[in-house]
Symmetry: C2
Subunit: 137 residues, 2 copies
DNA sequence: ATAATTTGTAACTATAATGGTTACAAATGA
DNA sequence: TCATTTGTAACCATTATAGTTACAAATTAT
């Protein structure tokens, strides 16, 4: 139940890009808003780009912009860009000689799967535009 | 989005206790099923006891048992015993001189709160008895 | 062309969380 | 009185992450 900040940082960045749609923002500029190192930003952006959410241009006067309108970027898509590890962690080696240990894993997967699905559906109800409007209200 | 195993281990333990309602189980016995060290079990059990889910008796022929019927232990209560850190991590120091950075935190809290609430409600739909029956089916 | 800028990425460090382990006092029952 | 078991502190190893430095490749501006 931890806590990597990449999802949170991603929403921050996407909202920032949505607020300045006319220009490319550099990693340096974005890092100033998030208050971290530009390389941290580029790492996060790499995932977002791989999922088609942002585009970059290297070189002088390069930078980043959204690749779709903010109302078309749902937060579940942002979440998916980082959901390599499951949210609810599973313990690894239950004793399969125990009747409970032998079957607990699939039982937990069923429950955890439903729980994460519920969260995912909630995230699908918000877009980057929603977040921007919340901030500007 | 990681992954501490305490929630998962807890459900395993509670299901095991539910399967053997007649006897006290020792940390050693429980650890054998979970396949870990007895101290890890006692640590987890401490949280569960603090939330009224299990009872212990120290000393010879001591051990652990559920403090309520398994159909009265909802998985959301188990989750609550460990939800000290929020599931979706927040980045810490957005730049408050930036209009977005200044307001992103409460906006994220609103979204994350709803997402976690959805997950919590899903967990409230399952009890330890449900997990046990799933395993025994 | 050349220089300046910016991404893209590898490599490394520091920090924090976690699981696992040892050790031992306190409680309890046989 | 002794054996057993919880309760807990202390420590170590591992892992994930954020942050940092460094530099090649790409691109634009002059």
């Amino acid at each position: 139940m931890n806590t990597n900040q990449q999802f949170s940082i991603s929403i921050h960045i996407l909202t920032l890009l949505a607020a300045m749609p006319e220009q490319l923002l550099t990693s340096e500029q974005i890092a100033a808003s998030v208050n971290t190192n530009p390389v941290v930003i580029r790492r996060v952006m790499g995932h977002l780009r791989a999922h088609g959410l942002v585009e970059s241009r290297p070189g002088a006067s390069g930078g980043w912009k959204l690749s779709r309108a903010p109302e078309q970027i749902h937060l579940c898509s942002v979440y998916d860009a980082f959901s390599h590890t499951d949210l609810l962690g599973m313990h690894r080696h239950p004793n399969t000689n125990c009747p409970i240990g032998a079957k607990i894993t699939p039982a937990l997967e069923k429950v955890f799967g439903q729980a994460e699905k519920a969260m995912h559906e909630t995230l699908s109800g918000f877009t980057v535009k929603d977040v921007l409007e919340e901030i500007q209200s």
